[in-house]
């Protein structure tokens, strides 16, 4: 009996705190046996989970953002990582220091900023749109990561390079926890900054813009939904 209730209590942890209190109390009051109680709790958890998916937000977060953008951000991470050997090459092979500084300022730093900004906005918007279905979005992000990891073959780059974007993305998720929003000025600043960096650093082919449109829309979405006054938490 007690062992059975352990599982009921464990399953009820998937419910919100108040609901958990009420449901477990009702089950105890009704003197339910452990198995029907467990099924009742799991039934409620399943209904709650299904309810989340009635909205467009978790769909967009998981399959419109987390899944496709993780592929793109991995590609971007690798492309930024390729710049480091080039920098080393310029230090070792090409003589003047000015070349290195110029190269960093022109290429490496903007690309790093761009990757950080895009990944931050990605994490922030994924968390914002799918607060209670974050585990699905996280899965949609990690499945492409595993896929690429198993196919990643490079002698000069470590596999870690694939996942550079995960650090700023996790930062974005953390910042959006508890329903926090970026202020309107910060959000617009980020969105405009990314466009400027994109214009400065890449060629103007439409394919390139299409690639970056998928990476840039989260920043513009953040700007569009940003509150005029930042929420105090």
């Amino acid at each position: 009996m007690r062992a059975g209730w352990f599982w009921v209590e464990a399953a009820s942890r998937l419910l919100a705190r108040d609901e958990r209190e009420a449901v477990l109390g009702d089950l105890l009051e009704a003197d339910e046996r452990a198995l029907p109680a467990l099924l009742s709790v799991l039934g409620l958890v399943a209904r709650r989970e299904a309810q989340q998916w009635k909205s467009w937000k978790p769909w967009v977060a998981s399959f419109g953002l987390a899944l496709p953008s993780s592929f793109l951000l991995m590609g971007f991470s690798v492309s930024v990582s390729w710049m480091f050997p080039q920098v080393l090459h310029s230090v070792l092979e090409i003589e003047p220091k000015t070349n290195l500084v110029l190269y960093c300022v022109r290429h490496l730093i903007p690309q790093l900023l761009m990757l950080t900004g895009c990944a931050f906005a990605y994490g922030f918007v994924v968390q914002m749109l799918s607060r209670r279905t974050l585990w699905v979005s996280a899965t949609a992000c990690f499945v492409p990561c595993l896929f690429c990891l198993t196919r990643f073959r490079s002698e000069s780059l470590s596999w870690v390079c694939l996942f550079l974007f995960l650090v700023p993305a996790a930062w974005g998720v953390r910042e959006a926890l508890g329903g926090r929003r970026l202020g309107v000025h910060a959000a617009i600043g980020l969105a405009v900054g990314l466009i400027v960096l994109q214009t400065l650093t890449s060629n103007s082919s439409w394919l390139n813009w299409l690639f970056f449109a998928q990476l840039l829309w989260p920043a513009w979405y953040m700007a569009a939904v940003a509150p005029k006054r930042v929420q105090q938490t």
Partner: protein, 112 residues
């Protein structure tokens, strides 16, 4: 228009008054319908009714019988009363020509 289960919850909650919370509403519904009332259906419907403004709920006291867990108390709002009344009237009107409803009125006449 309310759904059948929504009406059952509103009616049970209205009948229970200050004692309306998850376990008692569930008991009332099971007693009235003779069917098992799942906790999942009950709580998601309570939330939906709350969203429509037909019910209001709050966390109540904890009792030893409930292992020290709080109750989710429920109260029917004015709008809820109107909605339940509308549903009841519609069911009464549409049932007037039905054989089971006619039998029922004959039975009640016989009893009086």
């Amino acid at each position: 228009m309310l759904g059948e289960f929504e009406y059952l919850i509103l009616t049970a909650a209205a009948g229970l008054g200050d004692q309306a919370y998850g376990a008692t509403i569930r008991e009332e519904i099971e007693a009235a319908t003779g069917r098992k009332c799942s906790i999942g259906a009950l709580y998601t419907t309570i939330e939906r009714l709350e969203g429509k403004g037909l019910l209001e709920s709050w966390m109540g006291e904890a009792t030893a019988q409930r292992g020290g867990r709080s109750k989710r108390m429920v109260r029917v709002t004015g709008e809820g009363v109107q909605a339940a009344k509308g549903f009841y009237d519609a069911i009464t009107r549409i049932s007037s020509g039905a054989s089971w409803a006619a039998n029922r009125s004959q039975m009640s006449e016989g009893a009086s």
